[in-house]
């Protein structure tokens, strides 16, 4: 997708929208499920609420995407979601509903493996979906400077000075403050 020239036809063909004048730049740090969710949030907000498929269907799509980004999706959900996309496109009253599922369908088409990673491996390859990532301190690299522990708003990091620190995943808020503070690159997301 990255190599597709940005012109109107090409973007339509991959299901994006250019009408808003904005362009979203994507790279390997962009999670395609999250992007689809982003677009859906927009259409759910814009739905006028008149017809059934758009009023309720887009909301259900959004809920399904949300479930996937939380690592709670199943492969059946994926099929159900795809079916619902086609349903909304074919049954909605106006262009908004008829095009609302496009971001989901195109990301499903070009980045299905990312969806599968969220569902089967419970991983967000781009490291965006918070529910699916954890912050870990590399014992080898940690110098025990305590900077991270002092930066942590959740008091999730323990360890004595000059000893490798550890993050308690139950307390961690996944804010990333520790990783930013660490001068030794000892903290990473997985």
């Amino acid at each position: 997708m990255i190599d597709i020239p940005v012109d109107y036809d090409n973007l339509i063909s991959i299901g994006s929208m250019m009408g808003s004048g904005g362009l979203i730049v994507m790279d390997e740090d962009t999670c395609m499920v999250d992007i689809a969710k982003f677009f859906l949030e927009f259409t759910v907000d814009e739905s006028c609420g008149k017809c059934t498929p758009c009023r309720i269907g887009t909301k259900r799509l959004l809920e399904m995407l949300d479930k996937i980004t939380k690592g709670k999706g199943t492969m059946e959900d994926l099929d159900k979601m795809e079916e619902l996309c086609y349903h909304i496109k074919a049954n909605s009253l106006c262009g908004l509903g008829q095009s609302a599922p496009n971001p989901v369908l195109s990301t499903l088409k070009y980045f299905r493996d990312e969806y599968v990673a969220h569902i089967v491996d419970k991983k967000c390859p781009a490291g965006v979906c918070k529910a699916l990532l954890s912050y870990v301190i590399d014992r080898e690299k940690c110098k025990g400077c305590t900077l991270c522990a002092r930066a942590c708003p959740a008091d999730a990091i323990s360890g004595t000075v000059k000893q490798p620190h550890v993050i308690d995943p139950a307390k961690c808020l996944k804010c990333g403050a520790c990783m930013e503070k660490c001068k030794f690159g000892a903290i990473y997301k997985k």
Partner: protein, 580 residues
């Protein structure tokens, strides 16, 4: 008529150009299910239950709004069509408070029927967040439970397009769209006229009358109460529908039998009070004409109309006849004349009205409606609530014998019967006024110009030296047109009959609910009214002033028409109500 050639499910058909797919299909016996569609007033293509495939088109189309075109090939029953309708239903169900077991509309719910027809296996398949829902029972006449609303907007269309009131409509947007009044105010705080037209068009249990059956059961079980019931003119020709009988079947005798078996101490007829209303009102009209009183005089027997007048046209409240409605006259006389006659203390008399109408519930609570010092009428039930009571008591109406109303409050004439249809009050009043003015007693005259289901009817009758200009309107949108034409001076009427509901009480907001599939293609009001006119034709007495009990009441109790006592008992007053 210009025709086009189309194919439906492979069948070549010739259909009128400009018709919708739904209409074209129906002409050839092919039914397409609908949910939001209400002919003429709600053609919005919103629910997507009626979707069909048009060969060559990528998306499905809504048959209720999509016009046919030459060469069009339509599939109404394809696998894709079924799957789409089913998914639309499943989506609706995901927001629905699925509680059929306790739902007032169970068995007569359009959503329930669709779910059955489309064999929904998993009603929870799309479950997720439910839209915030509101339960509004603030008004005396109806309850709105948004958790059962499918957002078809039929209620809003009836309220705006038939009644020109528009106090309910969709609020919010997207997933949070919901039916409500402006700023989500309670229905009791807006200028709703209580007509109940929104209820009879609602496909589901989202709108229903406020159920007062328990108050009636309680009274029936109270040995200290003398519980009597009156049935409005139209009930006899609509109650049967609630038991699967043909539209327009007169079940008067069976209805009386059912009421007697429910344990009422007297089974009486509002038609008697309608006759009372006619003589009092005809007298008022003659007086107003003779004495230069406020004209045009406008009928006041429809509480939906009266409330509309008070909210929206308070400048016309002086034109309203001060006569109470038949329901209230009945109650007033029951607790005065009848109480005296039977020696029962009015405080122990419990009067129930069986009414076509939810506004009648409001009417029982109006001020200046308690001639005896106690409310004239204790409880007004709709036809639907009566049907519910009959069902609960284990009676099957069609199998009951035909019985007669009790004396004395059950004696009536053909003039009282036709009150239930638009134009009926006018005709009944004319029968009496004509005789009074000309002094000639003839065969009961039929005034065919004021019959029929048109929204506005006009006629001029030469009665003696007088050219009497009359007008009949039903449905508040039509009432508004008439009032505006009077206000502008364009029209000069002596007497106007206005009924709140289109077609009058036979089409009242308390009548048995017929699904849109029936409503859209059958003129309910005409069929029900025809049964009333038939009844009138066969009555031995067809003029109100000839009703022997009416005569007795005046001779032995009230004195003359319009007497001081008659005013105290049978007349009421009106007030301006806020519009916002």
């Amino acid at each position: 008529m210009e025709m086009v050639n189309i194919k439906i499910n492979g069948m070549p058909l010739s259909v009128p150009a400009g018709s919708t797919i739904l209409e074209a299909a129906r002409m050839h016996g092919i039914e397409i299910p609908t949910l939001c569609y209400l002919r003429e007033i709600n053609e919005i293509g919103a629910c997507r239950i009626c979707v069909v495939e048009v060969v060559g088109m990528r998306n499905l189309v809504a048959a209720c709004v999509y016009p046919v075109a030459e060469g069009m090939e339509i599939l109404t029953n394809s696998k894709r069509v079924f799957a789409s309708r089913k998914t639309n239903l499943e989506l609706i169900l995901s927001t629905h408070n699925r509680s059929c077991l306790s739902c007032v509309r169970s068995g007569n719910c359009e959503l329930q029927k669709l779910c059955k027809d489309f064999r929904i296996y998993d009603e929870a398949i799309y479950d997720g967040e439910k839209p915030a829902s509101n339960y509004d029972d603030s008004a005396v006449h109806l309850v709105r439970d948004n958790s059962k609303c499918v957002l078809c907007r039929r209620c809003a269309a009836a309220c705006a397009k038939w009644q020109d009131v528009a106090v309910i409509g969709p609020n919010g947007r997207g997933f949070n769209t919901h039916i409500g009044s402006a700023f989500d105010q309670n229905l009791s705080d807006v200028a709703c006229v209580s007509c109940g037209q929104c209820i009879v068009v609602c496909p589901t249990g989202a709108l229903s009358e406020k159920d007062n059956t328990k108050d009636v059961w309680r009274a029936l079980n109270d040995p200290t109460k003398h519980v009597i019931v009156q049935t409005a003119p139209s009930i006899r020709v609509t109650l049967g529908e609630a038991f699967g009988m043909h539209i327009g079947t007169n079940v008067e005798g069976k209805m009386v039998a059912a009421l007697r078996r429910l344990g009422f101490d007297g089974v009486y007829d509002t038609d008697f009070a309608a006759d009372m209303t006619i003589v009092e009102e005809a007298n008022e009209l003659v007086e107003r004409i003779k004495n230069g009183g406020k004209l045009p005089m406008i009928t006041s027997c429809s509480p939906g109309w009266v409330k509309y007048c008070e909210h929206y046209y308070p400048e016309f409240t002086e034109n309203l006849s001060t006569c109470k409605s038949p329901q209230q006259m009945f109650g007033a006389l029951a607790k005065t004349w009848y109480a005296e006659k039977t020696g029962i203390d009015p405080k122990d008399i419990f009067v129930v009205g069986i009414m076509p109408c939810t506004a009648k519930k409001f009417e029982t609570k109006r001020e200046d409606e308690s001639a005896s010092g106690y409310p004239d009428v204790d409880v007004a039930l709709t036809t639907r609530e009566l049907a519910r009571m009959i069902n609960r008591a284990g009676m099957y109406l069609p199998k009951l014998p035909d019985e007669e109303f009790d004396a004395p409050l059950g004696t009536s004439t053909g003039a009282g019967v036709i009150f239930g249809a638009t134009g009926g009050v006018m005709e009944a009043a004319l029968r009496t006024a004509k005789e009074w003015i000309t002094g000639e007693s003839g065969e009961a005259v039929e005034f065919s110009e004021v019959r029929g289901t048109q929204g506005i009817k006009e006629a001029t009758y030469k009665i003696g030296d007088l050219e009497l200009n009359v007008c009949v309107a039903s449905g508040l949108k039509n009432a508004k047109k008439v009032l505006e034409s009077v206000k502008s001076g364009e029209k000069n009427y002596h007497f106007i009959e206005i009924m709140g509901c289109p077609g009058g009480c036979v089409n009242g907001g308390g009548q048995p609910v017929q699904p849109a599939a029936v409503r859209n293609f059958i003129d309910l009001k005409a069929r029900r009214a025809a049964a009333l006119y038939e009844d009138d034709k066969n009555k031995p007495i067809r003029k109100s002033h000839e009703n022997p009990v009416v005569k007795e009441v005046y001779e032995t109790y009230l004195g003359s028409y319009g007497s001081h006592k008659a005013h105290e008992i049978l007349h009421t007053s009106y007030k301006k109500r806020n519009r916002f």
